[in-house]
């Protein structure tokens, strides 16, 4: 395997892990509420920006990270309570506009609370590059991959082994049936939003040392995360992960071998291709609502 190929692969996996986390967030919310949360990217932004500002204010990094994740989770809960809940049962267009409005609102608040500058977070364990078979890997990438793996395992345990996790799964399959067996669906919704927000925030924190963070970093990451979720199959947790990694790799390979100028377009070309030819995604259940 050539060094160049390996380099692209590693870069793709790193970016892909971030997309996977964002996609998981989309999936969890979609499963609980059938809402596509356009504000998902803003959780990523909040995670990164809050950590930067708290660390700059003197908090030790682990504390700043924990506080930032909690802040993002709180925003997620607020989003569910004030934006999504009041619009229960509204048509798709309405819900889409609401979450887009929420994302714009959050970005606006971000410029007021913080600023419009680009910020960097210090890498968690230095930036001495690691050599692997001719390619270099930043230590932060190992953090990204490692933490993502841990999160995936924890979530698998959560959904399959805990009562709350199973309640979330049950609600996503059949809301009415879940209510009838005594599951507090409202609480499930809140937990879903909080959990998704936390995932997004973690993604933002992990990637901040590599890709930096700013008030508008959420837009593209959110959209690409969504493309990843669709690629893997909207509504499928494993699909989100597979989709995220696959998208990251395709993007890196495309940028490396075909055209780096059009790197950002790759995710959307993939999105359209999936929607046209395989709307169920790679691992999805049920297809798109086609005519």
């Amino acid at each position: 395997m050539s060094a160049e190929f390996l380099q692209f692969l590693l870069a793709g996996l790193t970016a892909g892990a971030i997309y996977a986390l964002v996609a998981l967030g989309f999936t969890i919310i979609y499963n609980a509420s059938h809402v596509i949360n356009f504000a998902q990217g803003e959780f990523v932004m909040i995670g990164g920006m809050a950590t930067v500002s708290l660390a700059a204010a003197g908090l030790p990094l682990p504390a700043a990270i924990a506080a930032a994740v909690l802040a993002a989770a709180a925003v997620g809960l607020a989003l569910e309570k004030f934006a999504v809940e009041p619009a229960r049962g509204a048509p798709v267009v309405t819900l889409i506009i609401i979450t887009i409005g929420a994302s714009i609102l959050l970005r606006g608040l971000a410029t007021l609370v913080w600023d419009k500058k680009i910020h960097a977070l210090k890498p968690f364990s230095g930036d001495a590059p690691i050599r692997i078979g001719g390619a270099t890997l930043a230590p932060q990438s190992l953090w990204v991959l490692g933490v993502t793996l841990v999160i995936v395992l924890v979530l698998a345990w959560f959904f399959n082994r805990t009562l709350l996790g199973k309640a979330l799964l049950a609600t996503s399959h059949n809301r009415l049936a879940a209510q009838l067996v005594g599951i507090n669906v409202r609480r499930v919704l809140l937990v879903s939003f909080g959990l998704s927000a936390a995932l997004g925030a973690i993604a933002g924190i992990l990637t901040a040392p590599i890709t930096f963070t700013s008030w508008d970093v959420g837009i593209m990451l959110g959209l690409k995360g969504f493309a990843a979720a669709i690629l893997g199959g909207l509504g499928s947790g494993p699909g989100a992960i597979v989709g995220g990694l696959a998208l990251g790799i395709v993007e890196a390979m495309g940028a490396g071998y075909v055209s780096s100028a059009y790197k950002d377009a790759i995710a959307f070309v993939v999105l359209l291709a999936v929607l046209f030819f395989l709307p169920g995604g790679l691992l999805g259940r049920g297809g798109a609502e086609r005519v």
Partner: protein
């Protein structure tokens, strides 16, 4: 019945004519004209978009892409290839229509969220191409656009531009109203109301959706071409995601399935940021709040909600 319908339509058109004719009396400087022209151009785009979203019940989160294609089409053909502006406008519109036709066929087989995301992806791809092909488009900084002229006579001065855009808006509204109250228009609205019932009544759903998609793209493209010539400049942001969202918000805020609602929405949301320049930093917060607030408290939009409140009931 017929008389009532005619009067609602001609009444609305009449009111619009009066407003457009009298508004300049309130303008005290060129800036006011500029805003009015901006409103008119946004309104034209929104009237077309409303046909797609409000009447036909589809959705597009990428319509700024069509606006941008019209703008850049006119810009490139006139600035780089010396085409006469009118010919360039026609060519750009035809090109956009063709793209909408080709892309629309697979996209409109989708529904709901999937349709929304596909149009989103389409719009973003268009805007990325416009940014990246610097040789033609001038890249992220945009490019200059020659003035609009027909047979050597240039359209110049705020008053002349205002008149032209006002006429354009009236034409767009008139065409849209005619369409809505016609067999083709009823077919579209029927598709929105009950798709299977419409199909069984003989409506070719795929063809009808594609037709209105292309039509709304044409409205956006023409508005884009004109906007480019008016401003003398065009940037890729005009084709971007945020502009697409602005357009949808205008349609939704003003009232879906209401042509005058689309105009009102365009006016309201074009004026709002201008009024808020004092609070420039709060612009995004306000925009987001407006979007959320409208959809939560006034989901039918401004004009239909007011119409229902004042006992009208008749949709225009």
């Amino acid at each position: 019945m017929l008389a009532r319908l005619a009067s609602a339509r001609t009444g609305g058109l009449g009111a619009l004519i009066v407003v457009l004719a009298l508004a300049p009396l309130a303008f005290t400087n060129n800036y006011h004209y500029e805003i009015a022209i901006l409103v008119a151009l946004n309104a034209v785009t929104c009237v077309g978009l409303n046909l797609l979203i409000g009447y036909a019940g589809q959705i597009s989160l990428g319509h700024a892409g069509f606006f941008g294609l019209g703008a850049y089409g006119s810009a490139i053909l006139t600035a780089r290839y010396g085409w006469p502006p009118l010919a360039a406008l026609v060519a750009a519109t035809a090109g956009t229509a063709l793209l909408a036709y080709v892309v629309g066929r697979p996209i409109l087989r989708l529904k709901g969220h999937y349709l929304a995301m596909a149009t989103l992806g389409m719009g973003i791809i268009i805007s990325i191409i416009l940014v990246t092909e610097e040789r033609f488009t001038g890249g992220p900084d945009g490019m200059a656009v020659p003035p609009f002229s027909v047979a050597g006579v240039a359209l110049a001065g705020e008053r002349a531009w205002y008149a032209a855009c006002a006429v354009m808006l009236l034409a767009a509204v008139w065409l849209a109203l005619n369409l809505i109250d016609s067999p083709a228009g009823r077919a579209l609205r029927a598709l929105h109301g009950a798709e299977i019932g419409a199909q069984v009544s003989g409506v070719d759903a795929a063809r009808a959706k594609l037709a209105v998609f292309v039509l709304s793209a044409v409205f956006a493209s023409v508005a884009g071409s004109v906007a480019a010539h008016y401003a003398g400049f065009i940037t890729p942001a005009k084709a971007g995601f945020f502009h697409s969202i602005e357009l949808v918000t205008m349609v939704v805020f003003g009232g879906m399935a209401s042509t005058f609602g689309a105009v009102a929405g365009a006016a309201a949301l074009t004026l709002l940021p201008q009024l808020l320049t004092v609070f420039k930093e709060y612009e995004m917060v306000m925009m987001g709040a407006v979007m959320m607030g409208t959809m939560i408290f006034m989901p039918k939009g401004l004009v239909p909600t007011l119409a229902a409140r004042f006992g009208n009931g008749r949709r225009t």
